[in-house]
Symmetry: C2
């Protein structure tokens, strides 16, 4: 099967168009798509150029391109009336019912989403990212008062990327603490975590998957052996049970899913909206 070209057209970064388009296209199995993002289309000239570029691709291929657009302003959208492809226009489609419901015309201003419309949100995300970096892997434990959540689990269970994602996306303060041999053998939490029991959230993962991940990182030694991996995971789960720490299995989850499930199950509020 030949692949079809998909364009993501935006007056801004294209992140929204990509997210929306991707979630639709994953519903069509067996189709092959070539992705092209055309961001920062913020003038009539650039819009016309984009249309020309898409039409040039259309002229060369058997099937016409798909175009996912989040263009806001009417004058930038107008040139796309002549494009040789299927346009799915996210803004135009939903704006009319929203305007009726809210009894207000939308401002039709470029680049509100993912922009710097809110400086406070930006600072919040940066501050949370700094926090995640400084409080990664139990490297510092004096700032847990500020933490919204403290992830615990064995090495390579997904703690660090989840903390970074929570910070960058939602401005949430997430620290993480690795369960070491001490904790796993004794079955006891370290004293430093005692005052923060209600902030703890555990991550576990299937032994086969953990072994695979660890092997990529450190192929030799005990670290990635089936015995060691199974022992650590069993001990960690026993510890979660003993202290009634809520936890989830990250095996089949993407980073977004882990983050989203943690927020959903703990009730932690997003400090910034995606």
């Amino acid at each position: 099967m030949t692949s079809r070209t998909v364009f993501f057209v935006s007056d801004q970064t294209g992140v929204t168009a990509e997210t929306l388009g991707h979630s639709l296209l994953t519903q069509f199995e067996g189709q092959q798509f070539d992705h092209v993002t055309l961001p920062f289309i913020d003038s009539v000239d650039k819009a016309q150029e984009a249309v020309q570029r898409i039409n040039a691709v259309a002229a060369e291929q058997d099937s016409r391109p798909l175009i996912f657009s989040t263009l806001v302003q009417e004058e930038f959208r107008a040139p796309f009336k002549k494009v040789r492809g299927l346009v799915l226009d996210f803004f135009h489609t939903f704006m009319a019912p929203l305007e009726r419901e809210l009894q207000q015309k939308s401002s039709h201003v470029v680049g509100r989403a993912h922009g710097m419309s809110d400086l406070g949100a930006y600072d919040q995300r940066i501050d949370a990212t700094d926090f995640a970096l400084l409080n990664d892997d139990g490297s510092r434990v004096g700032e847990y008062d500020k933490a919204d959540v403290i992830l615990i689990g064995v090495s390579r269970s997904g703690k660090t990327p989840t903390c970074l994602y929570l910070a960058l996306t939602y401005g949430v303060y997430a620290a993480n603490f690795p369960l070491s041999e001490d904790e796993l053998e004794s079955g006891r939490l370290p004293k430093v975590l005692d005052p923060y029991r209600d902030k703890l959230y555990g991550l576990t993962i299937a032994p086969e998957r953990l072994q695979q991940i660890r092997k990529q990182r450190r192929p030799v030694g005990r670290y990635a052996t089936p015995q060691q991996v199974r022992y650590e995971l069993r001990a960690a789960q026993a510890l979660f049970a003993r202290y009634q720490i809520p936890y989830m299995n990250s095996t089949e989850c993407s980073i977004e899913e882990i983050a989203s499930r943690i927020l959903s199950s703990t009730g932690i509020e997003r400090r910034v909206r995606a």
Copy 2:
């Protein structure tokens, strides 16, 4: 003005619904919205519960709720026909034209986007995140062969969060190297970067904004003084010019925008799709 409640309903994380809703709602100035995400609605029971919860809110408020839905399966969407609010149904709206165009029924399977449909993509993002962490702030320079891009700039110009975002979102290998007094005074790049000149990308920022950011971090000393900040930024820009390093001003940009502009201007391919 009273605020209106907005629900983001999803059979998965809710990230797509939030992205869509947020980008539309930012177009309505002066309106106040309360956001509630209802993720993982993956059974008829949960769908009915969600509808009850939304209707309970509707009964208490003057204006009816807005509901952004990315529910895929018809049987989970059905209960929402009785919801007391405006439903903007993302999948239903765009799936029909796509199915016609692709001459294929969509699979209507829950949780394709943001899921683990692609294990390789997950591993790629984790590997890129590890790379960003290990190659942050010039801490290690032996892995630059693997880098897609090496960000350079003065302290607090946005390098680290941008690298982490590029890794977590796009699986791109981004290192960063801080310009120190040595480089700024001599106007010369360090030898270690010589073989990687074509991977360099500069970040600069307005002096007032940099001063503000640095003050939050270290209020005393030379670090955040207007003189020091202006000197460093002038020297960094002179260095970008001398070596013809492409660069951008991050002052008015969110992390997404910085990342997106770097990819767009360098032509670096996303290794994973958002």
